[in-house]
Subunit: 246 residues, 2 copies
Amino acid sequence: MNEIFLDQRSCQSCPIRHRAVCSKCEPDELQMLDRIKYYRHYDPGQPVVWAGDEMDFVASVVAGIATLSQTLEDGRTQMVGLLLPSDFLGRPGRVTAPYDVTATSALTLCCFRRKPFEKMLVETPSISQRLLEMTLDELDAARQWMLILGRKTAREKIASLLTIIAQREAALQRRAPTNGSSFELPLTREAMADYLGLTLETVSRQISALKRAGIIELEGKRFVTVPDFAALMDETGDDSDGGLPV
Amino acid sequence: MNEIFLDQRSCQSCPIRHRAVCSKCEPDELQMLDRIKYYRHYDPGQPVVWAGDEMDFVASVVAGIATLSQTLEDGRTQMVGLLLPSDFLGRPGRVTAPYDVTATSALTLCCFRRKPFEKMLVETPSISQRLLEMTLDELDAARQWMLILGRKTAREKIASLLTIIAQREAALQRRAPTNGSSFELPLTREAMADYLGLTLETVSRQISALKRAGIIELEGKRFVTVPDFAALMDETGDDSDGGLPV
DNA sequence: TTCCGCTCTTGATCAGGATCAAGGCGGCTC
DNA sequence: GAGCCGCCTTGATCCTGATCAAGAGCGGAA
């Protein structure tokens, strides 16, 4: 893990900078951010922080993917969050991490030291309002996952996960998912299972089933093409109006 | 549903008032709140708002219990939130409700008209910071539920729900749950099933099983006594360190 | 009082996904 | 190339919780 301090213009995808601070273009806020901000890089599979550890920073994801997960006594684990670029990690006011955070691909975090960040939060209402908005979006996503975990069949769960990944990948490029669009699954079968509350065997079987049904096409094990996006949505069991705004 | 406008001191349990505004004791903020604030009462079982409906207010729960739930195409429903007194309902900036909200007991909401509330939010950073804190707590609770829904057995789910209800009831009275403490289940078996991703038959069976095992005692169908709180916690499957801070 | 309706309990059977097990496919190092 | 390892697929069997079904308990209304 490396720490690289940033010059003033180098962080392109950080939502704090771009959506909250830059929108105001207050020069001294920018300078203050630059004094407390730095990058960290993690290799695939590397833990970022374990639940219960002290976290002296908050961060936003610049590149790569991280997962949040929780574990029961006997080792059963459940993933509870998926952090893609522009997502925020850490919580103002909380010192210990509540979840295990793991890099599932090469991960770059744009970090802010906790104390100055909290000070900035108090002094810059636009940032805490932006943070509130992002947190509310995360809460909606978590509740959508509760529906998936509690009430959907294995097949519906897989279709839902594929839909969500396709939508988020598309959203990063500021477009809607289209027929024929492809993407790379950022998760192993096991990680998908941890996310969906299934076993990896069931995940594998259901992906094969969706492939056999022509809902998706697979190139290798990870590269997915969706010939008809509406057909995939039909498999999710969701109300056809598309559910929550994402 | 009645609307009753409030005088300046009548809302005792509203977190906005007490934790954000009153702590500062800014007289004009208080007055502004009083101009935009009013009560609504709902009978048990009455819907507060349906998903997709326009919501012209945000509110905090003063008394009673409300549930948030989502429904799939074919009618399967999943509860995704449980609102107890002091919890917040509604989201600044969002006009349509994302979930069905239902009163499960006689419910009193302390409402704020949306527009003035949002104006106040911009002008009063302490409130949006308080709201951020509450939202982060809700997010943690939602993620704890994801673990329950995804990885726990029926028996562990029931034990977890009882634990959570006991803890929240105790927290409202600012104390920790103790051995021998009792509480009234605020939910029907069906509502518990909707919360846990089970059927009502399974809920009933598991409650009977916990009773037979001496983990809980039942008086009637709703009144629960926990002779040994640690024994109940043991049934949840959670790590013994108690999980998330509540 | 009787009847009705709602909630809950319990039993019998079924099925979806877990578990156990074996093997395939790349990619890697030696 | 051979061997190994991580990831994935597929098959056989098992088990937990769903489903279908019947009836108990209880409160409210006529």
